[in-house]
Point group: C2
Chain length 129, copies 2
DNA sequence: CTAATTGCAAATCATTTGCACCAAT
DNA sequence: ATTGGTGCAAATGATTTGCAATTAG
């Protein structure tokens, strides 16, 4: 496994991203900064980061995926605003435990989960009045 | 809103489907039965059913969507087997309540949610030994 | 009648892949 | 040197769309 400049750039971006990032937007950002990394490499490297356990992929029901660094974060789930697309993270230990119980009940061995609540954030609710 | 034969056929299929269905597979099934409905109409009609609140769309992180009739079912979430792709439904009132609490906490107005646990079903765990 | 609906084929959009060229070990 | 990595452009796969032909109300 080689540590190429392209991989370093993409890893950096993922690590420093405060919010979820999309593969294509990442490519575009780099492109606009004059950094030459191809779309293919962006996709390939993001996949790699996931395989290495450094990032996670979410789909949020949209047609494109979101990537997020796993580094320095605890597992969390998401509230997704249908109006401004803002993503709020939440953690709930009780829900995690209930999930374990459910899996037990079905003899299911959980690997990961994906839990999103879609709706309207405080700000968008107000501005809709 | 017209009630065309195409719409009747697709609605029927969705209502009688015991499991989740995929748009393309539905098209293929109909095609093999000699029923002439175009792919476009399948997609258009499924969208319509969702807009009418008769069906729901799930994405499960795969590259294609799953559709499911809402009729005669209670809200439920899913366990998705990564090996055989089987989908097990589950309902947990406690989790639903905890979700409401979380939304309250963030001033978030929930519209719907999507909650999946990915892993290995009992059968696949055994066959992997 | 006539506006809504369909089928077709072409268009999109996100993502993946084949392959010749290039670079890290 | 060798093998893995990159860029490009073409391929893919799911879904959407433009438009002319069709049909339900």
């Amino acid at each position: 496994m080689r540590f190429t400049p392209e991989r370093e750039i993409i890893l950096d971006e993922v690590l420093k991203a405060k919010t979820h990032l999309e593969a294509d937007s990442l490519f575009l950002t780099l492109y606009q900064r004059g950094i030459k990394v191809s779309r293919a490499t962006v996709y390939r490297t993001l996949d790699l980061l996931i395989k290495c356990g450094l990032a996670e992929k979410n789909s949020f029901g949209q047609n494109h995926a979101h990537y997020e660094s796993v580094f320095g974060t605890i597992h969390h789930d998401h509230l997704v605003c249908l109006s401004c697309e803002k993503v709020i993270e939440f953690i709930d230990e009780e829900i995690e435990e209930l999930q374990d119980k459910i899996c037990e009940k079905f003899g299911f061995k959980a690997v990961k989960h994906s839990h999103q609540i879609f709706g309207y954030c405080e700000k968008c609710q107000k501005s809709q009045n």
